[in-house]
């Protein structure tokens, strides 16, 4: 059910990746995504797969747990694969009506599928090894330069970390209200679309009310502790690069160079 979503869920084990500075991981994810989008040969994808496998291995998160996050993109995957399969012009394999599958389409669809899967797995590793707070800390610090041109970096990152923090709370709350209404005979599983939508009312109204209540409580609690935005605010755990982060940046550079070489060779 709701618990199966792994994107945005921290997996608490102790590994090199978990201990790494979030900025390093963010940058790595960025490099990885860029390489995925410029990859155009089997070699390039092979290299990306190797990089991904190494990261998964280092994260010490069970692969089973990671693959579960892919469930949410199955439909997206199916749609993009079938579009690419049938709508790419080239040498036809077979034809049904106006739809024709081409060799080029097959190749393109396969690359597309691999790209999407790698993309999700790559970003899942980031969120599985980094707590939401670390993640927003990292974002705030790496994007700090944008504050100079008037972007409210601190406020946005605070909003993000609160939103992320609230996801599990709201999931739990949904689960609780759902059960409470089921105890009163509510049925969320059967009926047609309209009936199901109507059945959501007893769930959504209490959920919204509790979300608003929590939001005002939190705002009050923050003000009571003198929160006044980012200016002059110090951190309990300021981010600092360690030796392992410097090494990792070197690894990124190596990976990127190798990747360009693979691209040039193809």
């Amino acid at each position: 059910m709701l618990r199966d979503i792994t994107l945005g869920q921290y997996y608490p084990v102790d590994s090199v990746l978990h201990r790494m500075d979030p900025r390093t991981k963010l940058f790595g994810t960025l490099v990885y995504i860029v390489t995925l989008f410029i990859a155009d040969s089997v070699w390039a994808y092979g290299l990306a797969a190797l990089f991904l496998a190494a990261a998964i291995r280092l994260s010490r998160v069970p692969v089973k747990f990671m693959v579960r996050g892919l469930k949410s993109i199955v439909i997206l995957l199916l749609i993009s694969v079938s579009f690419n399969l049938f709508l790419t012009p080239g040498t036809p394999i077979f034809k049904i009506g106006f739809l024709q599958m081409t060799w080029e389409g097959l190749e393109f669809a396969a690359f597309m599928a691999v790209r999407l899967i790698f993309l999700v797995l790559g970003s899942t590793i980031l969120t599985l090894t980094t707590t939401p707070n670390q993640l927003t800390d990292g974002l705030e610090k790496s994007l700090g330069f944008m504050g100079k041109i008037g972007v409210p970096v601190h406020e946005v990152s605070m909003m993000m970390s609160i939103a992320l923090r609230f996801i599990p709370i709201l999931i739990e709350e949904t689960d609780k209200i759902m059960k409470a209404q089921m105890a009163r005979g509510a049925d969320f599983e059967s009926g047609n679309l309209i009936q199901r939508a109507k059945a959501m009312v007893p769930l959504l109204v209490p959920l919204f009310i509790s979300a608003f209540r929590r939001a005002t409580d939190l705002a009050m609690a923050m003000e009571a502790r003198c929160y006044r935005g980012g200016e002059g605010r110090t951190k309990m755990k300021p981010l600092r690069y360690e030796k392992r982060d410097r090494i990792t940046y070197l690894v990124y550079a190596g990976y990127f160079l190798l990747f360009l070489a693979a691209k040039a060779a193809a």
């Binding site: 089921m182 009163r184 005979g185």
Partner: protein
Amino acid sequence: MAIEVKNLCHIYGQDTIFEQYALKNVDLTIRDGEFIGLIGHTGSGKSTLTQHLNGLLKASSGDILYNGESIYREGFSMKELRSHVGLVFQYPEHQLFEVDVLTDVCFGPKNQGLSQEEAEARAREALALTGLDESFYKQSPFELSGGQKRRVAIAGVLAMKPEVLILDEPTAGLDPKGRDDILGLVARLHAEQGMTVILVSHSMEDVARYVSRLVVMNHGEKVFDGTPREVFRHYKELEAMGLAAPQITYVVHALRERGIPVDEDITTVEEARDAILALWKKAKGTGCCGEDKTC
């Protein structure tokens, strides 16, 4: 009519790193007309257990029989079970959603397939039981006070006419007056409606006064099961679990240590008062009270 829990286990997050035993081999028989207090520290598995009793959670292993029939049997109607076993969640007022009090209470009976008139009759009956004034029936439930909201929410379950009523911490977050009102209501439901009641709580004080049987949970296991008197005799073990016997138990034991022969099975303040007064009168007659002979 009875609920039998047999060797029930529940594991949260099975096969993940978060795996955790919430219930371990729990055996429990709930007979008709009983008034049971289910007690345990936070995280002892008491709420998890109650959610099994009406099929909201499925056991990892073990079985639950309702009137001799396994609720995990193929084709067993959970919806029907839920109308026989009413569960009032913790902070039940968080589940209110309708435009007015009466409509909200009608939600349960309507889900049972009753007509509008029947549902409304049931709702009025249930609201009357909770003692909520009729002038509130057409108000929005969100405008009521905490205690009133809770009555509405409890009425929402009562309107389904359950035979077994489970209340999870019904007094949490209420002031002493609200707490006594709600507990009084529950006691009345048991006495007058003959309902089987399971009261989940972590407060011995609340429960000792009303229930006839106490079940104590700790770390997902059932540790004690008996009358309050029997259970409170283990007050030292209860303390080790982060539970305390009612304060009066400590007073009684302290008095006994000083040689004043108060009955050790006393569980409520009222009983203690009567016993101490009786001893006092007797002592006045002989001109002495206890071994320190201060009078």
